[in-house]
Symmetry: C2
Subunit: 399 residues, 2 copies
Amino acid sequence: MNNFSNRVCSMQASPIRKLVPFAQAAKADGVKVYHLNIGQPDIKTPKGFFDAVKNFDNDVLEYAVSQGIPELIEALQNYYKTYNMDFDKDELLITNGGSEALLFAMMATCDPGDRLLIPEPFYTNYNGFGQCVNVGVTPITTKAENGFHLPSKDEILAKIDDKVKAILISNPGNPTGAIYTKEELEMLAEIAIEKNLWIISDEVYREFVYDGLEYTSFGNLENVKDRVIIIDSVSKRYSACGARIGSIASKNKELIAQIMKLCQGRLCVPTLEQVGAVELYKTPVSYFKEVNDEYKKRRDVLYGELMKAEGVICEKPTGAFYIVAKLPVDNAEDFVKWMLTEFRVDGETVMATPAEGFYATPGLGKDEIRLAYILKEEDLRKAGEILRKGLEAYAKVNK
Amino acid sequence: MNNFSNRVCSMQASPIRKLVPFAQAAKADGVKVYHLNIGQPDIKTPKGFFDAVKNFDNDVLEYAVSQGIPELIEALQNYYKTYNMDFDKDELLITNGGSEALLFAMMATCDPGDRLLIPEPFYTNYNGFGQCVNVGVTPITTKAENGFHLPSKDEILAKIDDKVKAILISNPGNPTGAIYTKEELEMLAEIAIEKNLWIISDEVYREFVYDGLEYTSFGNLENVKDRVIIIDSVSKRYSACGARIGSIASKNKELIAQIMKLCQGRLCVPTLEQVGAVELYKTPVSYFKEVNDEYKKRRDVLYGELMKAEGVICEKPTGAFYIVAKLPVDNAEDFVKWMLTEFRVDGETVMATPAEGFYATPGLGKDEIRLAYILKEEDLRKAGEILRKGLEAYAKVNK
């Protein structure tokens, strides 16, 4: 009895997961492991969330409405207004995390065999979601050497055949930390119009933009407003990853009506988490400022350490809380494993994520890692040092 | 810009939804509407759920592990033990409601173009989930006249071609309220073995069995344990529909490992709801006894009223909290609409669900409705009376 579907068999188990036993073994040996491999922030979740949940006082925990509770829809409307995006109530849907929002956007725009155009490296689960609904990925390769910015319009156009139905981008980028310029977005918008494509814009890191850089949302481009689907989530913005509250926003009301059928199929998103999320959206702007300053400091610390290491190539990322760095190694996965099993500085080591899993093109990313700067400054400085020393030692071992 | 996927276009908007405006209009006119159309129980959620959520005291609401938090996995293990089902920890997964459990079971067993064998009438969303992942439904028709029990083995075998990959049943049945006998399950098990099919057993109403009837779970049949996938949920069992905590259980560890990849893709199920659900599973058995007695009483009241109406055909259901009744009308949807727009008894009326949407075979169910007996006895008696009087009046109007 082993007849699994091809689609589920084609999915890879989490690339991080196979390294977890090595981290566990190190910890069992009393080694302290700095986890730069996961995107779980240590920032406090705004207290309003917990207070609202604690004040919930119905006797029966009933189904919520499929769209999302009206209070949360309204909170989301107000949130978008601060970014000069004006969404009607019937242009918004609450989802089980950004994950479900992505899955639904793919289901609504692509049939089996269709494809998404995605700049690589990209969030691994884009591929996973695609596989489970039989949607392929056509990658646009971007490079560490120029901060993972987009190639030329012609290069992108050359990738598009009639199976491509949507452009999917993460901006700010996970795993790259890149912020696309307004010109890059306008180029993608032109392409979407010329080729009649949807634009699925994953903007869950919207507030994580540094160095006073201008951030443009696809929601601000007037000429594509009927084809833009904005994916969002409270996870990173409010350090509430465990709430699993995401959303879909689109000025295309017919699209929202189509996706509403998917929402009705799964009935609703948890009631309590929605009640809590309403309060998250009331968090004062000062919170973002504080969080932003903190992450910027962390980025500078980690990037600074990386730059001290010989042969590391990466532009300073300007958004999200990730760095993808090209290392002077042949096989980054082997290096990450070696760090966990062999290398210690005062009984401590570092866990990174090999970046190969973020690429769709075979062979790319083999010498790259992704680092999340989600630890406090002091720990991050130590982790950066250990990583640098590890690279030096690894170079000697592999001479 | 209207290129939606065929799969999303093929999905129907909720059949209940198009009648909602008529209910809203009636209410706006001051009419009281008894809702027998929805499966939202009025039973109190065990207080332990809310207490656990209120006692949660982490500062950061972090991602939970993809499988589900260990405490909940253990609680689920213990729960199944009371039904003589022994699941290892790696044979269980927590999901976003029974809905996600169903979707994942379909994805793991069926590729696009494959089919599920399902006794009809069935839970409408089976079809919806199937459509969004391109899986078809091959119905086995069951009838009100014999309490919606299964046809003969030969009749079922004749429906199966090589595109059918799994049998999907709901037991106790939604919308029928039927409990399959042990012999019926054994027959399906034989078929599954002969045709090498998976068995997806939706048992979310497991505790809702009346009249001292023996209930057999597919988890209790030894000869198919490697091909049974049990779908479960806290929604109905503990009147916690808004928690969206479901689960998948299977003795087939490889299947669980495959579905784990889907779980990793969506990262995790909300943390707080899982913390609460742990306590639900500690609810004493006396709770079920009380709830069960209450629903049995309600069933008797509603069924009694229905039987007073001339021409209504239905066997007394023995499980869940639904009745599907064949009415002496040509078009049940028209009747339901007429009740909402035209018929009142002392300023009150009743909303039922037309049953056509529960059938895959075109034309079936046109003269049937589903009723949920989820109101308290007194209200249910009134609602039953109004429905009966409505049928009499409708017969006169349509003579």
